[in-house]
C-alpha cells in the first residue's frame, strides 16, 4: 500500500511538472521582455544635464536662461533639431505629441525643450511657432554662439553639422535622439530616432508610475 501511494504521487507530480513546462514553452510569446522595462536607452551611469543652459526664446526673442531639468513632479523632453528638417524632426515631434496626448491627465506634466541646431534660419519666431504646432508646453531654445551649442550637445552626446555647398544648398546633419529628463536634470531614458509613439507613451507611463510610487 505504501509503495502504491508513493508511486501514484510521484506520477501525478511528474505529470504536473511536465505539463507546466511544456505549456510555458508552447505558449511563450516571441518577445519575453519585461513589460515594465523601458524601451529606450537606459545607461548604468546616466547623463546629468542640469548644468546645461541655453537661451529660451519662447516668450522673449532676446532669450532667458533655460536649464535642462524638469519642474518638480514633471518630465522634460529634450531634443536637438531644426525647423527645416524634412523628415526626422517632424516625425519625432509628431510621435512625441501623439504619445503625450495619450497620457491623459499626465500630459500636463510633460514639457518639451527643443534646441535648434540651425539658428541662422530658425529665428525665435519661427522656432517658437514650429514647436507650438506640436505642443503648447514647449521651450524654444536658440543660441547664436556655436561654442555654447556645441557645449550643450556634448553634454547630451549629441552632434550637429551644417554644410553649405557651392550652390548654396544647406545640408544639416544632426543626431536625432530624444532625452527624457527629470527634475534633477538626470536623463532617465533616451529614444533614438525610430522609436514609435506607442513606445514613447509606454516609457512615459512607466516613468510617471515610478514617480507616483506605483511601479
Amino acid at each position: 500500500v505504501k509503495r502504491r501511494h508513493l508511486f501514484a504521487v510521484l506520477l501525478a507530480v511528474t505529470a504536473l511538472v511536465t505539463a507546466s513546462c511544456s505549456g510555458d514553452t508552447a505558449s511563450a510569446p516571441s518577445t519575453t521582455a519585461d513589460p515594465l522595462a523601458l524601451v529606450g536607452i537606459v545607461r548604468d551611469d546616466p547623463l546629468v544635464v542640469r548644468d546645461v543652459v541655453l537661451p529660451d526664446v519662447t516668450e522673449n526673442a532676446a532669450g532667458v536662461p533655460f536649464a535642462f531639468k524638469a519642474r518638480p513632479g514633471e518630465l522634460l523632453i529634450g531634443y536637438f533639431g531644426y525647423t527645416s528638417c524634412p523628415d526626422v524632426c517632424p516625425t519625432t515631434l509628431a510621435h512625441l505629441a501623439s504619445a503625450t496626448a495619450e497620457l491623459g491627465g499626465e500630459a500636463d506634466r510633460v514639457e518639451v525643450a527643443m534646441a535648434t541646431v540651425d539658428p541662422d534660419r530658425d529665428t525665435p519666431e519661427r522656432l517658437t511657432g514650429y514647436l507650438r504646432s506640436f505642443t503648447d508646453r514647449g521651450h524654444a531654445l536658440r543660441t547664436t554662439d556655436p561654442a555654447q551649442l556645441e557645449e550643450a550637445e556634448d553634454a547630451f552626446g549629441a552632434q550637429s553639422q551644417i554644410v553649405v555647398d557651392d550652390n548654396g544648398t544647406i545640408d544639416v546633419q544632426h543626431s536625432a535622439t530624444t532625452y527624457v529628463i527629470d527634475e534633477t536634470g538626470t536623463v532617465l531614458v533616451e529614444w533614438p530616432f525610430g522609436v514609435s509613439a506607442a513606445d514613447m507613451q509606454h516609457d512615459l507611463e512607466i516613468l510617471f508610475d515610478r514617480e507616483n510610487g506605483s511601479a
Partner: protein, 130 residues
C-alpha cells in the same frame, strides 16, 4: 486483523508526508520558472562591440577602421553591448557612448535605427530589429 490495521496506521502518514514534500518542490519549480519568464531575465543574443583605445585618433588621422559591419540585424530581446575603451565619445548610430563607458541596450521592440558610425568605412550603420 489487528496487525494489518497497525500497518495501515504506520504507513499512511509517511506516504502523505512524501506527497506534500514533492508537491512543494514541484510548485516551487513551476513558480520559479514563471518568475524567470515574467521578470524578463530571458534575453536574446548578446552582440558586443568594443571600441579600442586610440580609435578616434586613427579616424581623425584619416584611417578607415573596420571594427563592425555597416548593417546589424537583430531580433527583439537581443542585447547590444558597446564597450568604449577610447578616450573620446564613440557614436554608433543612435548610441553615443562616453569615454570609458559600457552601454548595454536590450531591444524590446522591432525597429530600424540608422546613423553615423566611424567604426566602418561607410561611416554609417543601420541596425534593424525584427
Amino acid at each position: 486483523v489487528t496487525a494489518s490495521t497497525d500497518a495501515e496506521t504506520d504507513t499512511r502518514p509517511q506516504a502523505w508526508a512524501w506527497a506534500v514534500l514533492i508537491a512543494i518542490v514541484a510548485i516551487s519549480m513551476i513558480v520559479g520558472a514563471v518568475l524567470i519568464v515574467s521578470s524578463g531575465e530571458t534575453e536574446g543574443e548578446q552582440v558586443i562591440i568594443t571600441v579600442p583605445a586610440g580609435t578616434a585618433a586613427r579616424v581623425d588621422a584619416g584611417e578607415k577602421v573596420e571594427l563592425m559591419p555597416s548593417e546589424l540585424e537583430l531580433t527583439t530581446d537581443d542585447v547590444l553591448v558597446i564597450h568604449n575603451e577610447d578616450d573620446e565619445t564613440a557614436v554608433i548610430g543612435p548610441f553615443s557612448v562616453r569615454a570609458g563607458e559600457t552601454l548595454r541596450h536590450t531591444f524590446t521592440s522591432p525597429g530600424r535605427y540608422e546613423g553615423v558610425c566611424a567604426l566602418n568605412p561607410s561611416g554609417r550603420v543601420v541596425i534593424t530589429v525584427t
